[in-house]
Structures are given as C-alpha cells and as structure tokens.
C-alpha cells in the first residue's frame, strides 16, 4: 500500500513515515498541500494520506477539500495528523472529507489503531 505524508515539518514527516514504513507502507512525502496535490495531478496514486493541518502555501483542510472535489481520488483514505485538537476543528475536518483524526502528541500505537479501524493495516501487521 502506498502512503503520502504531508507536513511542513521534516521531523514530523520522518516520524510518521517511520511508523507507516514499519507497518509495511511504501512512503512518499510532501511539504505542504500544494506539493501533495501536484503529485496527485501528475498521476501518482496513494491508498492513504496523513495530513498536517497548519502548513504554508496550502493547509491540510484545503488539501482535503481539493481531494474530495475530484472523483478520481475518492478512494484515497485521508487522516488528519495535527495539533488542532478542539472538537470544532475535528468536526470541520471530518465534514470536509477526512476519514480519521489523530491529535499530536500521539504514539505509534495510536496511529496504528486508527489504521486498523479503517482496515488499512497491511496483512500480518499487529493492531
């Protein structure tokens, strides 16, 4: 399975990529929503995107809205991974089309649990 990690912090990209890589995902990374959209528009496909909210150029919510507006990308699972922890923000993201929401700080197990709920853990991975 292919995953795209979208975060302006290269630290967080590496942390999330290490977790997903350990779960068997093939990882790509983008530094903001615009870069990620460029990848999709160039024809790359992903099963999963883990998306930070607060990023320069294009934020995570704008990215979710843009992805959900395109029929050909509707099979991609979108998880917000963000410091935006208020209930109202969670509701906004889910209403925009995100499937799940992980609030920083989080543990690797917390992210794996969300993936398991979504049926996205590759076969053979513990939950």
């Amino acid at each position: 399975m292919r995953a795209l990690v979208i975060d302006d912090s290269r630290t967080m990209r590496r942390v999330v990529a290490d977790i997903l890589g350990g779960l068997g995902f093939d990882i790509s990374q983008s530094g903001n929503g615009r870069e990620a959209l460029d990848r999709l528009e160039s024809g790359e496909t992903f099963d999963l995107a883990c998306i930070d909210w607060n990023m320069p150029v294009m934020d995570g919510l704008e990215f979710v809205v843009a992805v959900r507006a395109r029929r050909e990308w509707r099979d991609m699972t979108l998880i917000m991974v963000t410091t935006e922890g208020e209930l109202g923000q969670v509701v906004r993201a889910l209403a925009a089309g995100a499937h799940e929401y992980v609030i920083k700080p989080f543990t690797p197990d917390a992210l794996a649990s969300k993936l398991a709920l979504l049926g996205l853990l590759p076969v053979g991975q513990p939950t």
């Binding site: 302006d8 912090s9 290269r10 630290t11 967080m12 590496r14 942390v15 290490d18 607060n54 990023m55 320069p56 963000t82 410091t83 935006e84 922890g85 208020e86 109202g88 923000q89 609030i103 920083k104 700080p105 989080f106 543990t107 690797p108 917390a110």
Partner: protein, 151 residues
C-alpha cells in the same frame, strides 16, 4: 488579560509529560520538574508559537543548543552515531513547540489560531511581552524552560 493567563504550572507540566512520553522518550520517567535543582542555560535556543488570543500570546520553549540536539536525536529515534545537523535541530525543536502550542490552545475556551513555529538563538521577547507563567523542567537532568507570554 489573556485566557492563557489561566493556564497554570501543573497543566504545563502535564502537557510536557504527555508530549515527552508519547513522542520524545516513548516512555515516562525522563522528565521531571526542575525548580528545586539549580540549573542554568549557557547556550540557549528558543522555539515558540503564537496564539491569536486577545491580547496575543506566545508559548515558548528554551533549552541549550546541545540539549535541543539530543531532543532531536530522541524525537527522530536516531542511532547514537547518526549526526544531527542544525536544520534538523531547528525543525525538531520548532515542532515540539508547535505540539506544545496546540496542547495549550486546546485548553482555551474559544478557538484561536496558532502560528507556524519559529526557532532562534535570540530570545523573541519584545519590550511589551509579559511572562504569564513558567515551568522549569529537567529532561535527563538538563534544563528545559516552558513559558507562556502575553505579547
């Protein structure tokens, strides 16, 4: 007075404990309150985010550059021998401040905006900034200061 003024030291320590246990050390026990220990910063590095409270406020982390390097090592689960470059340290320390800022923001009764993190070897404190609260923490025995400001 800013809503951030209502955040007390015990809440700052609780957030720090959660952040370090989840994302830095991946276990508890390496962070403690350091107020009773005589510690100073000799080569400080500052990381902060600002909140759109009224008046605006700042969540600031301060530690020594060497300690920030070790924090980066731990955050990224790097091998002992793997070198940490300055850009990694700036990014990692800024992200820790970002996570702290988000956790402080979540304590506030109203939605506010959080800026992207900034990191500098110069203190961001302007002449109008007023410190609201401060927690002195010891991470592996080394000083980490978390302070809340109105700006």
């Amino acid at each position: 007075m800013s809503m951030v003024a209502d955040v007390d030291t015990s809440q700052i320590v609780a957030i720090a404990t959660e952040v370090f246990a989840a994302m830095i050390d991946r276990e508890t026990g390496h962070l403690s309150e350091g107020s009773s220990v005589l510690m100073t910063l000799s080569d400080p590095l500052y990381a902060w985010v600002e909140l759109s409270t009224v008046p605006a406020s700042r969540v600031q982390l301060t530690t020594d550059v060497d300690t920030a390097g070790d924090l980066t090592h731990a955050f990224l689960s790097m091998d002992e021998a793997e070198p940490v470059v300055g850009a990694d340290v700036m990014d990692a320390f800024g992200e820790i401040a970002n996570v702290f800022g988000g956790s402080i923001k979540a304590l506030l009764p109203e939605h506010v905006q959080l800026t992207l993190p900034q990191v500098s070897r110069r203190s961001p404190s302007g002449s109008a900034a007023v410190r609201l609260n401060e927690a002195l923490l010891a991470w592996h025995g080394r000083l980490l200061v978390i302070s809340l400001w109105t700006i």
